[in-house]
Amino acid sequence: MDPRLRGDDERERWLTVPMSSAFVTSTSAPAEEAVPSSPVLTVEGLSHRFGERTVLDGVSFAIPAGRFTALLGLNGAGKTTLFSLVTRLYNHRHGTIRVFGVDMLRQPTQALARIGVVFQQPTLDPDLTVMQNLRYHGGLHGLSRAVIEERAREELARIGLSDRAGERVRTLSGGQRRRVEIARALLHRPSLLLLDEPTVGLDIDLRRQVLEHVHELCRTQGLAVLWATHLIDEVLPGDGVVVLHRGRVLASGSVEEVCAGTGTLGEAFARLTGGGGR
């Protein structure tokens, strides 16, 4: 073994879960080679409340590998709370969250090691360079310096920002920062990528670029993606959809299934929520 990579086999142990309850594949392999035996993310009967206010009420859905799934809901639907629970910012009390069959409450380390997250708020440190931000994230996931450098180069090349690696994040545009956040979320090779309204504040062109980039990751990397949004035009034909409204899942399945008998997704969303989608 390359001595620079010593210890990375130990990190792999974080990711090792029983075959009976999981699907083990490399995210760097094309989607066709992956052998999905169970959903990447399973949420069952998830409820959460802050004080007397119920934010999520019996939420259930599953996300398969290699598919872009939109979590569609208006502001206040409970999307951010759902993301906070799936990323274990705080624990849920009712229901279960499983990543590759691994229970988030019982084995959070194994579950979190397989998740990459892009939060709604920017979370890059603007005073550090792009590379320093990536090193920080890689270190938090237990990657060695050599592995971080190698993967950071790959990811930055993929998003076309190799030449900006040494620049402070503060000097990047909003779209570039978003792409760096996605690159950072992929650094530890997650199997599930969660993005909470990642196009907020981006113009139409940048929004399209980020959306295409993530769809391509699903196709080429076999990555399972959960993309929270309130914008119906961010959901493309063939994507999965989970419609969340006032803390409840009103529909889930492929776009075609959710739209069945209604017409467009906008119409289906309006019918389901009893109002207008945006």
Partner: protein, 271 residues
Amino acid sequence: MSALLYGRCLRSVVVREGLRFVHQRERFFAALVRPLVWLALFAVGFRAVLGLSIIPPYETYILYEEYVVPGLVGMIQLFNGMQSSLSMVYDREMGSMKTLLVSPLPRWYLLVCKLLAGVMVSILQAYVFIAVAWFWDVQPPPLGYLAVFPALVASGLMLGSLGLLLSSFIKQLENFAGVMNFVIFPMFFASTALYPLWRIREGSPTLAWVAELNPFTHAVELIRFALYLRFDATALLAVLAALVVFLGGAIAAYDPGRGFWARRGGPAEQG
């Protein structure tokens, strides 16, 4: 799980804190200038007012400057702990703390990493200050500079933990002024940082009693004794006890099951 992975995580957090500190040069100068102002202005003015008898760990009469230096080292660490607290609140409000909290290692360990990184920065500042104080003729025995290191680690951990704990109570950055008024200033002034306990007792026995209970007093005395190659067991025990309480409280406050986010929700819970 491998110690190597934990080590990488710690290195990563320490490097980030170090880089932030280097980038914020004004923070370094503020941290250095604050105690120097006290040493150069306050201590000189007080030299005539405050006559000091021979008290341990000193073996002879000393100038007030010499007395106050360990207190000012404590002040550096106290302010650094609060600076860490402020940056935790800022990171939480801005969202960047989430990067840390969603990493796979246990939450308590991530907090300890943050704490150790802050302590490292505070020790660096403390050494620069006692080096500058040497030119003010505050010259403890050479070995004292070495002996004070473990004392600085213990006091830095205790005051840093207090900062972590306080950061969990502060909902918004604007509330930080309250912490200055109700925590930092009372802790600093009701301690032996500026005047010895017997002096305080002369003025007010109640205040002396408060000072004896104040963990900052014990942090200062631990530093003072170590700097003059003496060991104050009571101070060490008091500092360690306070460390256990503050760190335990901070770990509970940031716990994903019981912590404040679980009760109130995270920042930007609008989605």
